[in-house]
Subunit: 207 residues, 2 copies
DNA sequence: AATGTTTCTGTCCATCGGTCCAATATCAAT
DNA sequence: ATTGATATTGGACCGATGGACAGAAACATT
């Protein structure tokens, strides 16, 4: 595996060389030419169009890590979305860089521990809209109601759920009624959206 | 470092033993007593209160990986939020388990590659982007059908969609009929599930 | 014993949702 | 000019859904 550090010409950082003595220093253009499947590319986030570069290189099977002088959660997310498997500080010590390489070459994801909460939290909010969904959303329900809620949210009809739980369809409806009331939603659609963690805009009689 | 597999008493899976011959099998209660800083704990997601368990063990400095028989993106997010560093299929082969251990002990995060897109995709939406993986699904539809499909998948009723697009409810139904036929689904529920990427390809039993 | 929660069941009814049978108008391509 | 795809609407039919009543049985708490 070949390591490529993609950066501006003058951005040579000794510890990079220290971490991977055999690595190549290239600009964005050369990176597009030389990086191939299985190679590892470390891309500086101060490059114009780094996201596109990351995406392209990731598409062709390279392992991407984005390095930043000013790491922040939003940029970390962008990097991961673009296909990067890692996001670290550009001035990380050599040992850390080697650790990142180890993790990413083994299908792992590596982001700065300090940013981890934010990144995952972002995902969390994206998936749930409000804080701590399933726990709280389903938490308000009884055991049986939870079971019904999940079954319905997986796309089953009342009749199917009834058969599955060995109760009458009427009872399923009763549970659903309670679920809708407790969650403040109007129908099973809203339930699916809640549980599949999408943002829902409920009840707007205005339009 | 000691490996703990936290599961129901009878859930013994040979390949776990194969991956880490020295590991201990424990229930949730014993886990709380025995797992300490630097230890590695593999927690089954079919345990009641696994989230709390993961949170507690992670808080005391253990490395947590959640194993599930039915992996899905939402659960993966929950696991990571709870403090887990890994999320994998319970029937993963020994070599994969060792890889996961390697990654997570090096501050990395490991989630099923199939789920990665969904998890990161969620982040993407959190940042205000528009999901466009749906393009594949919606690609078979006409422009108008796409509009209707998205509106319905956002939880609106036929009547609401009709008002919104300034057409009759009858026309909405016509479009929906075409949508169901083209996508090979039976009702709007399946449409939501399709567009929110709910159904997850469970790993085949071979690995 | 009284109370409250949970689970389960019933009937009635209005509405919604999905499919069958159509038909008409527009537009692009042949 | 004919064909094909698209968008639109109509009517009728029937199953699915959700709410509004209501009641019974099991169980835990007080």
């Amino acid at each position: 595996m070949v390591h490529f550090f993609v950066c501006h010409g003058r951005d040579e950082i000794p510890r990079w060389r220290m971490a991977f003595p055999e690595s190549s220093w290239v600009g964005p253009t050369q990176a597009m030419e030389q990086v191939g499947r299985g190679d590892m590319a470390w891309v500086m986030s101060n490059l114009d169009g780094w996201e596109t570069l990351v995406r392209d290189l990731a598409d062709r099977g390279a392992i991407l890590v984005v390095l930043s002088y000013t790491p922040d959660p939003a940029q970390a997310s962008l990097a991961l979305i673009a296909g990067a498997r890692g996001y670290a500080h550009a001035l990380s010590p050599a040992t850390l860089l080697r650790q990142v390489a180890l993790v990413t070459t083994n299908q792992g994801i590596w982001v700065l521990p300090e940013l981890l909460t934010s990144v995952v939290g972002g995902t969390f909010k994206a998936l749930g809209g409000r804080a701590r969904m399933q726990g709280d959303v389903l938490g308000a329900l009884t055991e049986r109601e939870r079971t019904v809620a999940v079954a319905v949210a997986e796309g089953r009809t009342n009749k199917e759920v009834a058969r599955e739980l060995d109760i009458t369809e009427r009872t399923v409806k009763a549970h659903l009624g309670a679920i809708f009331r407790k969650l403040g939603i109007r129908d099973r659609m809203q339930l699916v959206l809640r549980l599949s963690q999408q943002e829902v805009d409920i009840a707007d009689p205005s339009h």
